[in-house]
Amino acid sequence: MDGLDISTLPIDLLLNILNIALLFLIVRTLVYKPVKKFMTARREKIDAENNKANEKMDEALKIKTEYENKLTAAEEKAKEIILSGEEDARKKAEAIIESASSNSASIISDAEKQAENDKKAALDSMQSDVASLAVEISEKILRREITDRDNKKIAENFFENGEAK
């Protein structure tokens, strides 16, 4: 086969090839570049928003951690306050019990002393009553039994022996 003879090629084919090339240049210039530029900008925008979202996520995690730490500390503090309150209440209860015990011992001691005093007073009163009664009975008996001879004997003892009070 001989070489390609351009003069033999149909002009339509050449025009078609030229049109295609021209169309390619136009499309590349007017469509591809703007679209590529738009896509690149969109990608950058999405990346920037992703980065921003990640930063906010990190910040949110940081805040969450911070609040969790604060919550843990608050719980510890609450436990400490409760334990402290229980200890205070226990000490107060012990003090109240001790005070009540001391008071009851004092009350019992006072009651025992009072009972002892009452008993002594009752015995003294009884002794006094018995003495008065004995003397009263003796007086009645003596009034009946003492004779004039007894009176004379008393006088004789006094004047002869000096027995007197």
Binding site: V130, A131, S132, A134, S138, E139, R143, N151, A155, K165
Partner: protein, 72 residues
């Protein structure tokens, strides 16, 4: 002149009282003035008061002293 007050129970006989008067004059002097005092409170015995000196020989007083000792 001395003065003697003799307090006797109502049950005492005149004989016993006379003995007391006689012995009082003998003890404190024949010129001693005697004052008789009869007390129904006395059970027995007598009391003699001469110039502020009191000789208490009454049974009542002895009973009172016994009562005091019993109440101690």
């Amino acid at each position: 002149m001395k003065k003697a007050v003799i307090t006797i129970p109502s049950s005492m006989s005149e004989e016993t009282y006379s003995y007391i008067v006689e012995q009082t004059k003998k003890k404190f002097g024949e010129e001693t003035e005697i004052v008789k005092n009869v007390s129904s409170d006395l059970i027995g015995g007598f009391t003699l008061s001469v110039d502020g000196n009191i000789y208490d020989l009454s049974v009542k007083t002895q009973l009172c002293e016994i009562e005091k000792n019993l109440k101690k």
